[in-house]
């Protein structure tokens, strides 16, 4: 992928030093190109068409349905993929990062991924009467990725300050519980939305207490806190919530807002600007974190505590205080995401309703290279895979749903083994500062 720190340094110092060759990217791209060729191109009957609805009624373009000749579309996409794979081989062979005007970097994989997924979609709906609703596919993916994005943001904040947050799952669950119960008690989703971060913050505070104050291994605390929250919420659900359903488990729902004008932009309008309130909150959180983490005094100090706590201490930053406060902040962000499971859908709380999303959020953060931007993209990818099987189910495609559900996890394993090997985690994460 992109050049690493050590490679850059080597280049700066001695221009004669050759870049190390890495074959992971070209091999991976070639494998997927072959899959596309054999799996999609050769299995599509000639003359079949794939119908995709690009824009729907309310946009400036009106309703727009493309009828693509499936085989030609697949060949075009596969050729693009083959070209990118070839560029990858060339770059590795000649030890360069640029082939013509094409820079071989992380966006190469993104473009390749988009082509591969498009090829899959074209193949999946080829020759079927039904139309693939492209906008609803994307907006569903965005909505499904909301808890993952919040969780990944929480993870990003905590890891940059030096605390590994495995308890995202527990924070989401606590947030979901609090939002549902308070929302039900007050009959007001907004009050539920405000209290969800408090529940997450409490779990964050416990994590900080054990990890920062008592130097317990961060992963151990995180896992055990997840068990604690699961037990606590399930216990309260089976006792208090089920004894008095009318008071504690009545449903409230956050509204869906439609931003005027913006929502009428073709394709992206209905995806980005006709969404649940929580999605708009998510935009704000991601943008704020991306800017503040890398462009503000708060962010600099926070990252210093995760990279080199002794240096931060020497410059007068109170390391453990910073760690505790920001871990609590991270917990609050994840708690906010927990509201997605209950009041964003208008659902009552259910036992273990987060169903492992906290762990996927952790994966999204790592796949995104510990950056809010990257984590957002990774979370969207996971949300997309999650939504894809719903969408394909509607169209009537028979792909074993288990493999669709498995995909994000497999992608993460590949990424951790291959791509993320070069993205660096904060140096001192998980190490207590005993100064």
């Amino acid at each position: 992928m992109s050049t690493t720190l050590t490679q850059l340094r080597a280049e700066d110092l001695h221009h004669e030093v050759l870049r190390p060759r890495s074959w992971k990217l070209p091999i991976a791209l070639t494998v997927f190109t072959l899959v596309s060729l054999a799996g999609f191109c050769f299995t599509t009957p000639a003359g079949a068409t794939s119908r995709v609805a690009i824009a729907t009624g309310n946009s400036w373009l009106g309703t727009l349905i493309w009828s693509l000749p499936s085989q030609s579309a697949l060949v075009v996409l596969t050729v693009i993929m083959a070209a990118l794979a070839g560029a990858g081989w060339w770059a590795s062979l000649r030890r360069v990062t640029r082939v013509g005007i094409v820079k071989i970097g992380s966006w190469t994989s993104v473009v390749f991924g988009i082509c591969f997924v498009s090829a899959f979609l074209v193949w999946a709906v080829a020759g079927r009467g039904s139309v693939l609703q492209f906008t609803s596919l994307l907006s569903g993916a965005l909505f499904l990725s909301v808890p993952l994005v919040f969780g990944a943001m929480a993870g990003t904040v905590c890891e940059h300050v030096g605390v590994i947050n495995v308890s995202i799952e527990g924070q989401l669950l606590a947030g979901a519980f609090m939002a549902a119960v308070v929302g039900s008690l007050s009959r007001n989703p907004w009050i539920g939305l405000l209290t969800a971060p408090l529940a997450g913050a409490v779990i964050g505070a416990l994590l900080a207490l054990f990890a920062v104050r008592y130097w317990v291994d961060h992963i151990i605390v995180g896992v055990v806190l997840n068990v604690l929250v699961t037990g606590l919420t399930s216990y309260l659900f089976s006792t208090v919530l089920t004894h008095n359903t009318a008071v504690f488990s009545s449903t409230v729902r956050l509204p869906t807002w439609k931003i005027p004008l913006l929502s009428q932009i073709p394709v992206i309008g209905p995806v980005l600007f006709v969404q649940n309130v929580l999605v708009y909150v998510m935009y704000v959180v991601v943008i704020l974190l991306q800017v503040l983490l890398f462009r503000s005094r708060w962010g600099l100090r926070l990252r210093a505590c995760g990279e080199h706590p002794r240096a931060a201490d020497t410059l007068g930053v109170k390391v453990n205080r910073t760690r505790v406060l920001n871990t609590i902040l991270g917990g609050a962000i994840a708690g906010l995401g927990g509201a997605y499971f209950t009041i964003a859908h208008g659902l009552a709380f259910g036992k273990q309703m987060t169903a492992g999303r906290g762990y996927i959020a952790l994966a999204a953060m790592i796949l995104g290279g510990w950056k809010p931007k990257g984590a957002l993209v990774a979370a969207l990818l996971f949300g997309f895979a999650d939504n894809l099987q719903n969408a394909l189910g509607v169209v009537g495609v028979q792909v074993p749903s288990q493999f669709m559900l498995m995909a994000p996890y497999l992608v993460t394993i590949f990424a951790v083994a291959g791509l993320v090997g070069k993205v660096r985690a904060p140096a001192m994460e998980g190490k207590p500062y005993k100064g």
């Binding site: 992963i219 399930s234 994966a363 498995m406 996890y409 083994a417």
Partner: protein, 423 residues
């Protein structure tokens, strides 16, 4: 284990003969700063927190709380009744049955149930313990159990072998299935440096979907039915039971596994290498050990042991079936078991028995008093959290710190004083 006992306070006391204020006070001080006391106190705190939760969720207690100041005895009486009822049924479900027993077998029946419930926890706890001691955080016991169950189950219902042989082959299948699933994060860590925590978490989910997909195949379904549930296991693959109780060969195997793990870790070169890698991988590499291969070995052994945990689900009772929930939550419970047992075989067996007892008692408590079994999760996690942070327990009970901790703290204090003086 006893052979690996750390040179504790006794040894230090022998080396420093001079100040001898009073033998009793010394002994008391040692007892107060021992790790056993913290473990006991952690259990006590967990039970107190559990009691508060049980009382708070009870309807009668809530009603009595409404007029707390008018008649406080009502409130405390109701709380006492609820909590003591729940805990006594927890005890009777886990240890001995005192109320409705007709024979000796009835009296000890709960204890045998506890032992039966503890078997998968011990296997998986041993598995994770090995990983912890090598510095690997294997969260993937859940997935490894599922793969062990898949292979064990497939052998159990589709290969029709003679009794005895069938059991051995099924056990091997469970071990191989788990070991194969453990090999993946091991080899990835060794070859690419992939973080084993992430890989094992991902593999847990992959395992669930993989088994879910297998169960949609004809060969994994009962002929004629298209439900995601396998045919019944052959009785030839079942564990023999002892004395007509819930205790079966599985428990004996778990104990044997614990002994083998102890022997492996304390008496073999591989075990020494694993511990060295866990203590300090850089030093181990400098000493000429192959750190990468150690990771692979640890994950394979760990995965295999976790796979064996599946056997108690499939082979203990006759005619079990393979389904997606076969692993229950054993993989995650095992993390708390290994932590409570401090990753040592004897500790893991005891911790497994404790949590097995909580589970067995929890079921009786749920049916007898209506207290949901979920409270057990709260007890378990509070115990483990507190045991992981002994200073917290000490500060709650105002116990003396052990010397090491005090020294490090005074050093830190001195450093901070110097730091302040400098600035």
């Amino acid at each position: 284990m006893s052979a690996s006992a750390t040179p504790g306070p006794q040894l230090q006391a022998c080396q420093e003969p001079q100040p001898q204020p009073s033998r009793w006070r010394e002994a008391l001080k040692q007892a107060a700063s021992s790790s056993w006391l913290t473990s006991v106190l952690a259990v006590v705190i967990a039970l107190v927190i559990g009691a508060i939760l049980i009382a708070a969720a009870d309807v009668r207690v809530q009603q009595a709380a409404g007029y707390l100041f008018a008649r406080p005895q009502d409130f405390f009486g109701a709380a006492w009744n609820t909590v003591s009822g729940a805990y006594s049924s927890l005890f009777q479900g886990a240890v001995v049955n005192l109320t409705s027993a007709h024979s000796f077998a009835d009296v000890v029946a709960p204890a045998t149930k506890t032992i039966a419930y503890s078997v998968p926890l011990i296997f998986a706890g041993l598995a994770l313990g090995i990983g912890f001691r090598a510095g690997l955080f294997n969260i993937g016991a859940q997935g490894q159990i599922i793969l062990g169950a898949t292979l064990c189950g497939y052998i159990g219902f589709s290969w029709h072998l003679p009794a005895g042989v069938h059991l051995v082959v099924a056990l091997l299948g469970a071990f191989v299935g788990g070991a194969a699933w453990g090999f993946i994060p091991g080899i990835l860590k060794a070859k690419t440096g992939a973080n084993e925590v992430i890989v094992t978490i991902m593999l847990n989910s992959v395992a669930v979907f993989f088994l879910g997909w297998l169960l949609t195949l004809r060969s994994f379904q009962i002929p004629g039915l298209s439900r995601p549930i396998s045919p019944r296991m052959d009785t030839t693959a079942g564990y023999p039971h002892f004395f007509n109780t819930s205790i079966d060969l599985g428990f004996l195997l778990a104990i044997v596994a614990a002994v083998v793990v102890w022997w492996l870790m304390e008496r073999t070169t591989l075990g020494f290498r694993i511990r060295a890698v866990g203590e300090n991988p850089h030093a181990a590499r400098t000493a000429g050990m192959n750190v990468s291969m150690s990771y692979v070995w640890v994950m394979v052994i760990s995965g295999g042991l976790a796979g064996l945990a599946a056997t108690s689900q499939l082979l203990s009772a006759p005619s079990q079936q393979l389904n997606v929930d076969i692993a229950s939550t054993f993989g995650f419970d095992a993390i708390t078991v290994a932590l409570l047992g401090r990753s040592k075989p004897l500790g893991t067996v005891l911790a497994g028995l404790l949590f097995g007892g909580l589970r067995a008692g929890g079921y009786l408590m749920q049916s007898a008093t209506g207290t949901p079994i979920d409270i057990i999760l709260v007890l378990q996690s509070v115990i483990v959290l507190l045991i992981a942070a002994p200073p917290l327990v000490r500060s709650i009970f105002r116990l003396p710190d052990d010397d090491r901790r005090r020294r490090s703290r005074s050093a830190a204090h001195a450093r901070s004083l110097r730091h302040e003086a400098a600035t």
